[in-house]
Amino acid sequence: MTAAFTRAEQCCVAVAETFRGNGEILANPIGTIPMIGGRLAKATFAPEIVMTDGEACLIENVMPVGVADAERVVGAWNPYRAMFDIVWNGPRHVMMGATQIDRFGNQNIAMLGALDAPKVQLLGFRGAPGNTINNRTSYWVPSQSPKSFVAGVDVASGIGYDKAAALGQRAARFHCLPRVISNLGVFDFETPDGTMRLRSFHSGVTVDDITAATGFELVVPDDVGETRAPTEDELRWIRDVIDPNGMREQEVPNP
């Protein structure tokens, strides 16, 4: 039996699953639900992963999100310069946001419009080029629509499987995009041509809902099923320990 749960809580579990079996790596999810999901993985089935406190330390305990002065057990100092050491050395799986993502997993957080004349200036390239060429990179899209799941990105800040293939196997040997998680479902690129595939749909979401919210042709396997539901134990960790203030529900409101 599983208890009643919210969409946000199921998203947290989907994020946690992203880090299953990764081994002793820095799980580096960015965003509220990604952070909760990563800490959930560490609290339950993946105690071997290392996480940040959101600042300059790697922590060994399971910290809550959005709680000032929460207890922190620091295992290592990790200022920005040391973070680049980890990125370029490799033992890291980052989960970034994506204003746009296309069917090959190219990601845009930089700007909308042309490179030399942006219509909408966003964050800039940030660390996306370096992340995607050096270590595992997954994506979190809290509001999936044809505007975020697009036929082609305006600017490729993070590189997808088509661009990685063009680089050749050796240059792209560290490129890997394990998952894309949205408020509607879970996606991967486990297809012959590296295009996006629906891996599971969240409870209460139909495949039609998802294809309608996707601006490209999505691979949908015949046997696609629902995203795993949270267990009682996971719900306790999420609600009582990791996100006691319910920040997850602001990021993905329950439908």
């Binding site: 300059a56 390239f125 080029p129 600017v155």
Partner: protein, 282 residues
Amino acid sequence: MGVPDKRVSLDEIVGEIRDGMTVGIGGWGSRRKPMAIVRALLRSDVKDLHLVSYGGPDVGLLCRAGKVRHISYAFVSLDSIPLEPHFRNARQSGAVTATELDEGMFLLGLQAAAWRLPYLPTRVGLGSDILAANPDLRTVECPYSGDTLVAMPALELDVALVHMHRGDQGGNGQYLNVDPYFDDLMCMAAKRRFMSVERIIPTEQFANEGPVQSLKISRLFVDGVVETPNGAHFTECPPDYARDEAFQREYAATAKSDEVWDEFRAKYLDVSESDYQLRVAS
């Protein structure tokens, strides 16, 4: 004690910055930015600057005030407000041109300049639109493996501006928060290096403030030091003070209209640093 006296005024620092110079600004986002020096720049008639910054409100303010021609950046953010509104306006109106970089390429560019190398090789940038965004960016073939790598050129700075927690009159600098950022590299990458600090203290008192590892900037790489209490305001400078979130929201709201900006400018920017500090304290 044997340290020279390199104390300077804010006006003396600004007096060394000429139109068109490449200026590196330390800190990260809305964290430990040399804002008192930035405010002094805003009061000057300097223009056409090329900024090199892990950008925050330093970039937004200088863009809004018309001081900037070009920016080399990987992001410009206010942290608690993800997108810097004045920087966005400057980009979207075409008022400033940009060199788009990855955060790590930015580090390598500073490191190359600091080591007096023309470039450093990296995988970063391969495959992404970084190369399309930078037609002058070149790749090199590794003479050992044959790998193609991006040759990140040195980010050579005319001037570096950084803010530290403590300093001595010789320009040794100490940080007391969790992250040194890249301030030391900024200084080593620049021809002229200026550091503001919360407090100038006698060198022998550094040991009372923090461990030797907190003495991140050597006076070998500093030409002038100025004491500017609360000088990183409104960016954060813990443990001395947190970000002034209310003031930052007021600042961000000035992107809404010229009128609101003019009001903000008259109240906070067209005044001396000491008057600024009086006004934000009241």
